[in-house]
Subunit: 133 residues, 2 copies
DNA sequence: GGAAATGGTTTCACTTTCTAACTATCTAGT
DNA sequence: ACTAGATAGTTAGAAAGTGAAACCATTTCC
């Protein structure tokens, strides 16, 4: 607990925007992904993710090298520092969620869990950013 | 159904941002609320809300007059057009939600309803925008 | 081998938001 | 009743996020 707090303050976990968080998380799960991969996952344009990723690299959260198979592509990955920040950010939201959910008794909690389980497949499909209505 | 579609296209429901939607919804529920009331509910600064509301007034979705009791305050309210746009926007999300939920059988649906009921009081408290951690 | 497609970056404009500074009105304390 | 301070809102200016257009480098396909 205290360790997490310390981490949060020290590691400049301060101010990870939602998009930044999602990007970092995605690249933690998918080492070596390219900018376009990020673009497809996050749903921004290529220029935007370009800047976004540049920022995360500057801050030392990400690491970029050339893809050996395709020299146009970037091979992106989270750095150790990046993973630390990511975990810190997760800890914060977990904490906050836990505090909220603490108000539920066991039965209610089980209910919620079941419901989430039922909803999960329904909302897993990607939105798709269709340009027309 | 077709009526709603028509409404959506006609009324320039196109492009209501989330903040705009929330503002409009709030002022539909709370006629005569002031800019500061909106600010407290939406969680933006006063200048931001000022411009936000100005935009909605310009588009004819909101209506402003002077509060008779306090001449500093605005008394804001949704116009008929604003309510129409609001309802159209709601219809869109309802539609989308309905499509998703259509995949659930009655039992699962009941489960989800119960869970939401349990969660509701937990998440009703306002976030609060605390400046420090 | 050259045309077309793909991956990224840069530039420019637009929008949203904030802070700071200001005006107008109201409230309280003397 | 006056004035000091609080409250409501606006304006101006700066910073951040995003997208479209133009561009370069590399790869793929006929």
């Amino acid at each position: 607990m205290r360790a997490i707090r310390a981490q949060m303050r020290s590691t400049a976990a301060k101010e990870l925007s939602v998009v930044q968080f999602r990007t970092l998380a995605f690249l933690d799960r998918n080492r070596g992904a390219s900018l376009s991969d990020v673009k497809d996952h996050i749903g921004l344009t290529l220029p935007s993710v370009s800047k976004l990723v540049q920022g995360l690299i500057t801050r030392g959260f990400l690491h970029r090298e050339e893809d050996p198979n395709d020299r146009r592509r970037n091979a992106l990955a989270a750095t150790a520092k990046g993973r630390k920040v990511l975990e810190a950010a997760r800890a914060v939201t977990r904490q906050s969620l836990a505090e909220r959910l603490a108000g539920l008794d066991d039965e209610a909690l089980a209910l919620v869990l079941e419901a989430m389980h039922a909803l999960r497949p329904i909302f897993l499909t990607h939105n798709g950013k269709g340009k027309e209505s």
